[in-house]
């Protein structure tokens, strides 16, 4: 399979959401084999299909004043925040070309993230039952039994939708540290968890262009697909 790469830069959520629907329809009608949308978003909160609105901790009018829109969308999962400094990937892939298995697809997305972090010397982990990628505490003496969702920090989130076995929505990875404070607007994924970012761990600046290149390379490697062109 081949995919067309859409590198949008920094965009409003609504624009990328509409683009995903357009690309989805093209994959569905066969005019496009697949697509990968890479972008950053202006501040936005999205609610997944089963989200609890109480997990937004700031009043609607305060969010409006700050220019942070809230969208109820069709992905799985609870509430999440997106903003500049996060890299977002929305794969529009036909899983009939891979494996018709939601669990397997979610694990592959985690593999993409873990592989990307590894290139920066950062060990991302899975935590069973909690989709996403987590960072273990630095206290190496902490036993495995002592590790739980409260001792781990979340660095990447996943929320997807699948129609006709074609995927949309996807993953977000926290890269830059300047925007992390806005996570306090929400209870991420409906959980009381710590959020971290790549720069917090590497203690140095990370270029978003480098992140994009590595991310695309990991998608190609893990899904065994070719990038067709950039749009």
């Amino acid at each position: 399979m081949e995919f067309s790469l859409y590198d949008l830069g920094l965009v409003d959520y609504k624009y990328s959401w509409q683009l995903q629907h357009d690309l989805f329809n093209k994959v569905k009608d066969g005019s496009l084999q697949g697509a990968l949308v890479i972008c950053q978003h202006n501040p936005v909160i999205t609610l997944g299909r089963l989200a609890d609105k109480n997990n937004i901790l700031v009043k609607d009018n305060e969010l409006s004043k700050m220019g942070v829109p809230v969208y109820q969308i069709e992905r799985g999962g609870d509430v999440t925040y997106h903003g500049p400094g996060q890299i977002i990937a929305y794969p529009i892939f036909n899983l009939q070309c891979f494996k018709k298995d939601i669990h397997c697809y979610l694990r592959k997305l985690e593999d993409v993230i873990i592989g990307m972090l590894y290139e920066f010397g950062v060990a991302g982990s899975r935590y069973k039952g909690y989709t996403g990628v987590w960072i273990k505490p630095f206290a190496t003496e902490l036993s495995e039994q002592g590790i739980n969702e409260h001792s781990l920090s979340k660095i990447a989130s996943i929320g997807i939708a699948i129609k006709n076995w074609i995927t949309f929505h996807g993953l977000s990875i926290n890269i830059k540290k300047f925007d992390l404070a806005r996570y306090s607007f929400i209870r991420p994924c409906g959980m009381n968890i710590k959020i971290t970012c790549l720069e917090n761990i590497t203690k140095q600046d990370v270029e978003m262009d480098l992140i994009k290149k590595i991310l695309v390379r990991k998608f190609k490697r893990i899904f065994n697909i070719k990038a067709l062109c950039s749009n």
């Binding site: 992905r75 699948i162 129609k163 006709n164």
Partner: protein
């Protein structure tokens, strides 16, 4: 009558939650129309109508948990 069954969605997925019915009892579905959306913890999945016909009965409402292999609805096929 055709049963609309929750299919295998992948390894380790035994159940899901009905998150949205696109059509209601008594309404007519075309084959492959979006019929029902189900959700796992991080994914939503649209189940299309397996045939054209009238939706005679829906067994699970939005918010209900349903096991893989269970019947979600029954459709009376168009002759």
């Amino acid at each position: 009558m055709t049963n609309v069954v929750l299919p295998e969605l992948g390894e380790n997925i035994q159940k899901a939650i009905v998150s949205y019915w696109y059509l209601q009892e008594g309404e007519t579905a075309q084959e492959k129309d979006d019929l029902v959306e189900i959700a796992t913890d991080k994914a939503t999945f649209n189940l299309p109508s397996p045939c054209a016909g009238i939706i005679r009965e829906i067994f699970f409402r939005e918010g209900d948990s349903v096991n893989i292999g269970e019947t979600l609805a029954v459709i009376e096929e168009k002759k």
